[in-house]
């Protein structure tokens, strides 16, 4: 609420005020994409298994996208997150398979290594004053190459490391990072006939994939940090104008390093989740994910120049991207046209959500 009423302000409705928040702009795109697929796609897409199906990749991408959004708000890029997914996956796989460590050790070690690499990225960016684009690009190659070399060493020449599922079987930490949550609830719902069953009698949706919970939790946490803590203020300030922030006493260097560590850790988290989930890792994991993470952030309204954006925007951006990529398989369009559709839908969704926001806020 404005603290003073002023004759130079026109009244605006609650809805207008709501839509003005950058966090909510991306909803327009989600609505549009949903309508599109409601019309064109097989109805299976919007059944419970269908929704879980497209939310899973959205969640994995979203974890990266939200971290990338925070870093972008802070004025930097991290092109190495895709490679970091492969690298952290390789490290994690080696720790649990070759070294036989329990998750309680392997996960913190993987995270710590990722954070260290992130900090190194940040340190080089700050120390040399080079754009983060080029520094993290170098790490894109280095980490990708290191994953390949590492895998070959630890598997005696293969580029694929297998047997993770067996190695973590029964570990008490595994349910936090793999599989489905609320399995009991879903079995009960299947018994009640609320969700369909497979022939084997198992419910068609065994539960909420754990990454969806991580995704929602991370989006909420990131939003809270950005909007309601001093750190959030520092992130916006750092990205908005580094000099002005520094001159006003914001610890710019600490903020940047922390953000690089955050994106690296987000990549490591995605690596751990997908490696446990698929039971294997290979040298091409996370390929191009850095790119998709940035797309997600931009769909969600982040400016490439920094200082503006939101985590909830990236959340919806990831959902849009997930819906479009998976959704096309529910339609009968020829796969050859896939990329044309993907591009067209992305453009439409973004134009639409932008147009809504402009109309509502009266910007020109």
């Amino acid at each position: 609420m404005p603290a003073s009423v002023d004759e130079r302000i026109k009244a605006e409705s609650f809805a207008t005020r709501l839509m003005k928040r950058p966090e909510l702009g991306a909803i327009g795109g989600v609505v549009l994409v949903t309508i599109f697929f409601l019309i064109t796609a097989s109805p299976a897409m919007f059944t419970l298994p269908g929704i879980v199906n497209f939310l899973t990749p959205a969640a994995q991408l979203g974890l990266l996208g939200i971290a990338a959004a925070m870093l972008m708000i802070g004025g930097e890029f991290d092109l190495s997150i895709g490679s970091m997914v492969a690298f952290a996956g390789m490290i994690f796989g080696v720790l649990v398979v070759n070294m036989d460590l329990p998750l309680a050790l392997a996960i913190p070690m993987t995270m710590a290594l990722a954070a260290a690499m992130g900090a190194l990225n940040g340190f080089i960016v700050l120390r040399t004053g080079l754009p983060s684009f080029i520094v993290t690009l170098a790490f894109l190659f280095i980490l990708r190459g290191a994953s390949l070399v590492g895998l070959k060493i630890f598997t005696n020449g293969s580029t694929q490391l297998r047997g993770v599922r067996e190695a973590v079987q029964g570990d008490w930490l595994a349910p936090l990072f793999a599989g489905d949550a609320f399995g009991g609830v879903f079995r009960w719902m299947a018994e009640m006939g609320w969700i369909s069953k497979l022939r084997s009698g198992a419910p068609s949706v065994p539960g909420v994939p754990i990454e969806i919970l991580w995704f929602i939790g991370f989006a909420l946490l990131a939003t809270y940090i950005l909007l309601r803590t001093p750190w959030g203020n520092w992130i916006f300030a750092t990205g908005g104008d580094k000099n002005a922030a520094q001159n006003s006493g914001v610890p710019v260097r600490r903020v940047k390093i922390a953000l690089f560590m955050l994106t690296a850790c987000a990549a490591a988290l995605v690596a751990i989740i997908t490696v446990i989930d698929s039971g294997s890792t290979d040298a091409r994991r996370g390929f191009m994910k850095e790119f998709e993470a940035i797309i997600t952030a931009v769909i969600g309204g982040c400016l490439l120049t920094g200082g503006y954006g939101s985590a909830i925007g990236a959340f919806f951006g990831a959902i849009i991207f997930g819906m479009v990529t998976i959704g096309l398989t529910y339609t009968t369009f020829d796969q050859d046209w896939f990329q044309v559709f993907l591009g067209g839908m992305l453009l439409l969704a973004v134009v639409f959500n932008n147009a809504i926001r402009k109309r509502v806020t009266g910007e020109r």
Partner: protein, 286 residues
């Protein structure tokens, strides 16, 4: 009927576009609708999700390639549990039956690489390079590994991007840097094989350096026919698209299904055979 094909290679990949053409032709011939799906890059996590999406639509049949049984296994298992008949193709012959897949149409990448290696060694090769345009793509890595084993002599892997100019320069660089190399194996005919032949030609060493390639392309076959390249390794991937779809269509209509796996390759296309397949290759059938 409705049959879904989920493959690990993209529709734009020359190799996979032939598979897709085969599947589409089978659909035409049997009257089934065929949806061909693949992830944007070699991405096992996304491929598993695409299989899940296919299962949700309860198709009458599912065709998958299985380059990573660990990652795709649970999703394929779900399809089997949901009562969908599944046929695997291209890769995964070794694990297919454990997952409940009915049969497999294809060739082991490793074995194909080994055959190529043996043949090239027979032709007198002493030192080779394997040009890999997508390092980390497990099926390509296996081709190189098989080659190294069958060849029995030293083999270096040269990683490249998917850019003909770069491939040509790199092959040339590798040959200039080590003059004892006399054998070049590439893993894709159009993207890598043709530039490799150009590189050898530019060095004026067509007669001393043998080039062979996986898969077919009209241009590369022409080179084979002209004697500039040794042979192309054909796994008749058109069959990998055509057969599973028609088997599944027959299965849906009449409950018919062959009893055993179908090996679609390897099949080495050498000089005399090359000329005949050029036209078919230009139409995306070979």
């Amino acid at each position: 009927q409705n049959i879904v094909v989920v493959a690990h290679g993209q529709a734009a990949d020359p190799f996979w576009s032939v598979v897709k053409n085969g599947a589409a032709k089978a659909g035409e011939d049997t009257g089934a609708t065929v949806d061909f799906r693949s992830p944007e890059t070699f991405d096992m996590v996304q491929m598993a999700q695409l299989i899940d999406a296919a299962v949700n639509q309860q198709p009458d049949g599912l065709v998958v390639s299985i380059p990573d049984a660990d990652a795709l296994g649970p999703s394929i298992q779900r399809a089997v549990d949901a009562g969908i008949p599944v046929i695997s193709m291209n890769s995964g012959g070794d694990v297919a039956h454990d997952l409940g897949v009915i049969l497999h149409v294809g060739q082991s990448e490793f074995d194909a690489g080994k055959r190529a290696g043996e043949r090239l060694a027979e032709m007198g090769g002493k030192k080779g390079i394997c040009v890999n345009h997508e390092v980390g793509n497990v099926s390509l890595d296996q081709r190189c590994a098989g080659f190294a084993e069958g060849f029995g002599n030293p083999v270096n892997v040269i990683p490249t991007q998917m850019d003909p100019a770069e491939v040509q320069s790199k092959v040339r660089a590798a040959l200039e840097a080590d003059e004892s190399i006399d054998t070049v194996l590439t893993l894709g005919a159009a993207m890598v094989g043709e530039p490799a032949v150009d590189a050898v030609e530019a060095l004026g060493a067509t007669d001393t350096i043998r080039v062979a390639s996986f898969d077919l392309s009209a241009g590369f076959l022409q080179d084979v026919a002209d004697g500039k390249a040794a042979f192309a390794i054909d796994q008749q991937q058109y069959l990998q698209g055509y057969l599973p779809v028609s088997f599944l269509a027959l299965n849906a209509n009449y409950g018919l299904m062959p009893a055993g796996d179908v090996p679609s390759g390897p099949n080495l296309v050498e000089t005399d055979a090359a000329a005949k397949v050029i036209d078919l290759s230009a139409q995306g059938i070979r």
